[in-house]
Amino acid sequence: MAIRLFAAIDVGSFELELGIYEISPKTGIRKIDHVRHVIALGRDTYKNGKIRYELVDEMCKVIEDFADIMKSYKITGYRAYATSALREAKNSQIVLDQIRVRTGIEVQIISNSEQRFISYKAIASKDAEFNKIIQKGTAIVDVGFGSMQVSLFDKDALISTQNLMLGVLRIREMMGDMQVSTQMLNTLIEEMVDNELNTFRKVYLRDREIKNLIGIGESILYLSRESHGGKPVEWITAEEFIIFYEKIKLMSLDQIQDRFGVNAEYAALLVPAAIIFKRVLELTRAEIFWIPGIRLCDSIAAEYAEEEKTVKFHHDFSEDILAASRNMAKRYKCHGPHTVSMEKYVLGIFDCMKKYHGMEKRERFLLQIAAILHACGKFISMRKPSESAYNIIMSTEIIGLSHMEREIIANVVRYNGLEFDYNRVQLNEELFRNTKGELSHEDITILIAKLTAILRLANSMDRSHKQKLSDSRMNVKEGKLVVTTSYEGDMTLEALSFNQKADFFEEIFGIRPVLRQKRRLS
């Protein structure tokens, strides 16, 4: 049967969710069952930094039930992802272990950017609307329990994304003990939201025109609900949303519970969520608000479907990543023409060395991004550009790259300017366990070494930043990588540098790079 049954589990900050999906090339992704269990893991984490045993126990029981449901559908695969509540909990490892031991379900913690990326994929899986909406300036606003994410499109590519610590549960917890009137509380929340958003606007929004807003995340799903269990709202204009906000602002918790069909705990989160969306709409001056009704489980299914090649997307996600990286390079004033040649050189070397390095398409892609970003550290410090670049990359989210991929790129860029030491490659170990990393530490070290070797060599080829070798040709002959250029001027600097980097390159690949200047006989 060409139909796969897939289960997605979302261990969220406020709820445990299980979605059962039917995935087939013919009908795409179809949700056939969906259950939710309210459990406020996030409350523990954001307040005390740990998840209590009682909650872990409850969580295990529910996940055990989930496993039964999965079994009853005879699913062929599942993925269970945990987000910020577990990510930030100090005892997350032991919690995950408990779940594994007691239920047999492997839960993976996904990083924020991974989470955002897969929800972005789920939006993109709604092809028709998505492709239409991103023709005009668009921002995706994803308000979660722990944080919110704003991602910006330029033309049809996603170019930047920022995570703001403005999750609804987090806001609620911060305001929790304050004894003030509801009105006052709303004003306070609004101020807090404004403060964060204004900085964001100054730095990232300056001259972008945003016409459309795409709202995702838990809370908007509730806000968009119709009363009496009807179909949720999908499109709403900014004015309509403001009117809606004015209405719910005045509602008591009871009324909110009734109107949106939520329990009391949840009801308290809806007004902060509405405030956030309202302020984002006002700040961006967006006109149309689209609520595609995406839940994390849907996103997990979309990711699985794409990886299993059961469903094809029209949107090119690698273009997004490249566009975002280029945008980043521009922000840190990297030398444009130099970056362009670097991209060209690394890919040239990669391609002609294919037989010898054994790397695949995704690694090539990481190399390309490393080339784009290799010089961003100079923006911070001319003396220690490598360390600075590493830090910049590590603290900038790039939607579409996993945390591990980003760390690989950051290391490649770092060792571009530092002595490479196999035993000193540092990885943020903690983040690796239970994330989606499938490679061992050693494998990653080797991968970093390989990519570094190529990047270094390519960098030497434009040592003077003058694109002298722009017409060069590369091929491997008799155990040598021969770079031939017809540049006729002086290229001493390049040749010197090339030779320096050639040693490391040979050490890694067993191939000696040779630079040849083809002199035309006059």
Binding site: I3, S24, H34, R36, H37, Y73, K74, E226, G229
Partner: protein, 713 residues
């Protein structure tokens, strides 16, 4: 929302539900009094009025008594406090009982005799030969199971079991002491209440009641005494189960405990034979702590429910309605399995005119089908030896996921349900014992099946319980469908019942207690608005009981706006119909027939795009607020037409219909010059017509036209 003015909520405009219920029992009684009915059918109706009244006392009167004890003084919908209601009820039920017995004595007994059946009311009337027979029967079969009990200072007054029939006696020692002693014996419920005596020479069959035989032989139970007087009596006790669910750790255990307690609740009604010895009555009254209002002096045999047994006697078929055999369902009269047939289109089942088998078959087929992944069902009242339970057990054996919600709070069926529940659990089914604070009254079955093109869900939704024996007597509607939107909702219903959060939205189903009330009010008010705007507006609603204040107020408002409202209500109706300035446009009718009207149908005109729903809920507060109920739309044109036809015929019925009058009484319509329409009979005929039509279609000879096969070239 428009302002609903004061009058719609004024208690004066409502009828107390208990008094309205008594009216209903009167309507059943009127069937027993209807000389046009076959004699034995009248026996049955008379028996029903008696068992109805028993249940009414045990549940309704009992809870009113509880209210009085608890000093609860909040008035009801009609502004009556509990003690006022009890007073009125006592008055009304005494009238009802005397009408019951005058029917029995003056009409039923003589007619039985005319038809060759002699019921001997008193053992003194036995002939000598009959007396000998009775005494032999007593010695051989009755005496061994009797437990006579005497009361004196060393032996306290015995506990008298709820609803048991007993004989009280006053004894006098043979030794000659003057003092009278009280003694009693329970009429054993293990023996048949009706005892047939040898057929007389004239061919007349004679019967006597068991208690008469015991009374006749009372002396032999108390050998050292002279029996001064003996009289049967019967006690009814408070049986309303009130379970503190938050406290009850295990619902199942708690209910078992309560069941035992039920035997010994406070006495709320004492029935004694008319002209019982005053001394005897005084003792009973004192020992049972019962007030005069709750004592019924009965002019005939106590507990008329034995008439149902008499109905079952062999040899009187000519005095009974010809038993109706539920017809086949045309859509299923083929070789295909039930899933294929459902895929061809939604199927409507109209019970008992059509057989309940497809529902059983649905679960049975699912239990065996290798592609079925899961079966989920709510079971409220199940019959003993239910084939559905058997099928579910089989499904669990076949490693299907079986989830069953067994409602333990179904009144008087708890004992039955607990057994099934345990059995299912043992077989590996996932059994949910109801929800805290809510009764699950919805009737829904979901079968999840893996098919070529993905998961497909088959759903059966009904207005009646999954009970194959009551399905022969209750008129209900059921829908079988594989509409994906309903399937999705059905899954969501079961997820909710398993304790998960509510679904994000519903496609088609409307579920109580959260959404149903608001939805009904919204639809009624939509008609009100339409009428106010001069558009056509019409509501037809059929249900068992109507007593929710908010709904009634909305109906009053709709009536005032000019909405035509036709209600078909079997039982309680707290609404006043046809009151000028309040409910002129509301007409209420009640059908009491051979079958128990049970379906709930709701029709709303909706400005020319009518909406029709079926459901499990009445317009009662308890259904809308304290129960899980499901209402589902019928959208298929074909099915819609059929249900509209059902409503039409029910509204035209003039044989079994009573119409609610302005003064609150119910009258049969004037039939003079009109064609008689008995809707239940008509539906019976139609169901066999459908079958014949289908057979005709299937049988090539039936069409009387030969269809030549033409050359394909």
């Amino acid at each position: 929302m428009a302002d609903i003015s004061e009058i719609y909520y004024n208690p004066d405009n409502y009828v107390n539900r208990e008094l309205s219920w008594i009216e209903f029992d009167y309507r059943v009684l009127s069937e027993a009094r209807d000389k046009n009915l076959p004699l034995f059918e009248r026996l049955k109706f008379l028996s029903i009025t008696a068992s109805n009244l028993d249940e009414f006392y045990m549940v309704r009167v009992a809870s009113l008594k509880d209210m009085v004890h608890a000093k609860y003084t909040k008035p009801d919908i009609a502004g009556m406090k509990a003690d006022e209601q009890l007073e009125k009820i006592s008055e009304k039920t005494h009238e009802l009982v005397s009408l019951q017995y005058s029917t029995y004595n003056r009409s039923i007994l003589p007619t039985l005799k005319q038809n060759g059946l002699r019921v001997i009311s008193s053992h003194e009337d036995l002939s000598e030969a009959e007396g000998r027979f009775a005494d032999t029967y007593f010695v051989r079969d009755v005496y061994p199971v009797l437990t006579p009990m005497a009361v004196d200072s060393s032996r306290p007054f015995p506990l008298i079991r709820n609803k048991s029939l007993n004989i009280a006696a006053l004894l006098k020692k043979k030794s000659g002491e003057e003092e009278l002693e009280f003694a009693m014996v329970q009429v054993p419920s293990v023996l048949p209440r009706i005892v047939e005596l040898p057929v007389s020479e004239s061919g007349e069959r004679s019967f006597i009641l068991l208690e008469q035989i015991i009374e006749r032989n009372m002396e032999s139970l108390f050998l050292n005494y002279n029996v001064v007087t003996t009289h049967p009596f019967r006690v009814m006790r408070n049986a309303d189960l009130t379970i503190d669910e938050e406290e009850a750790v295990d619902l199942l255990e708690e209910i078992e405990k309560q069941l035992k307690k039920r035997q010994w609740g406070e006495a709320i009604r004492l029935e004694v034979e008319e002209k019982m010895d005053k001394r005897l009555l005084k003792i009973l009254k004192r020992e049972l702590i019962i007030s005069s209002n709750d004592i019924f002096e009965i002019a005939g045999p106590l507990d008329l429910s034995f008439l149902m047994k008499m109905y079952g006697l062999n040899g009187f078929d000519h005095l009974k309605e010809v038993p109706y055999i539920p017809q086949q369902v045309p859509e299923l009269m083929n070789e295909d399995d039930i899933f294929i047939n459902i895929r061809k289109g939604d199927i409507l089942l109209h019970h008992p005119y059509q057989t309940f088998d497809p529902v059983v078959q649905f679960v049975k087929t699912a239990a065996k089908d290798p592609e079925v992944l899961a079966i989920k069902q709510t079971l409220y009242r199940v019959s003993g030896n239910s084939p559905i339970i058997a099928a579910l057990l089989e499904a669990a054996d076949n490693r299907k996921q079986v989830s069953v919600l067994v409602e333990l709070k179904a009144r008087f069926d708890e004992e039955n349900n607990i057994n099934w529940a345990k059995k299912l659990e043992k077989a590996g089914c996932h059994v949910i014992y109801g929800l805290v604070g809510l009764k699950t009254h919805s009737k829904i079955t979901l079968v999840v099946r893996r098919e070529e093109d993905g998961i497909r869900r088959y759903v059966h939704l009904g207005t009646g319980n999954y009970n194959d024996s009551t399905a022969k007597l209750y008129t209900d509607l059921g829908l079988m469908t594989c509409n994906p939107q309903i399937g999705e909702d059905a899954t969501a219903v079961f997820n909710m019942l398993s304790g998960y959060s509510e679904p994000l939205h519903w496609n088609k189903l409307v579920v109580a207690p959260i959404w149903l009330r608001a939805r009904f009010l919204k639809m009624i008010r939509r008609e009100t608005r339409n009428a106010a705007a001069g558009k056509p507006a019409h509501i037809i609603a059929k249900m068992n009981s109507l007593c929710d204040k908010e709904v009634i107020a909305a109906l009053y408002e709709a009536s005032c706006a000019g909405v035509g409202i036709q209600l078909i209500i079997r039982g309680i109706c707290s609404l006043k119909a046809g009151v000028p300035g309040l409910s002129e446009n509301i007409k209420v009718r009640s059908i009491v027939g051979n079958f128990l009207e049970h379906a709930r149908i709701f029709y709303f005109e909706n400005d020319g795009s009518p909406e029709l729903y079926l459901g499990s809920a009445d317009w009662m507060s308890r259904n809308l607020d304290k129960r899980v109920e499901i209402m589902f739309p019928v959208e298929d044109e074909r099915l819609l037409e059929r249900i509209m036809h059902v409503l039409k015929i029910q509204l035209e019925d003039n044989v079994k219909t009573h119409i609610l009058q302005l003064d609150g009484t119910w009258e049969k319509p004037d039939k003079r010059g009109k064609t008689l329409i008995n809707c239940q009979e008509q539906f019976c005929e139609e169901a066999s017509l459908y079958v014949r039509a289908e057979l005709g279609r299937l049988d090539p000879a039936g069409s009387r036209v030969f269809i030549p096969t033409e050359s394909q070239g």
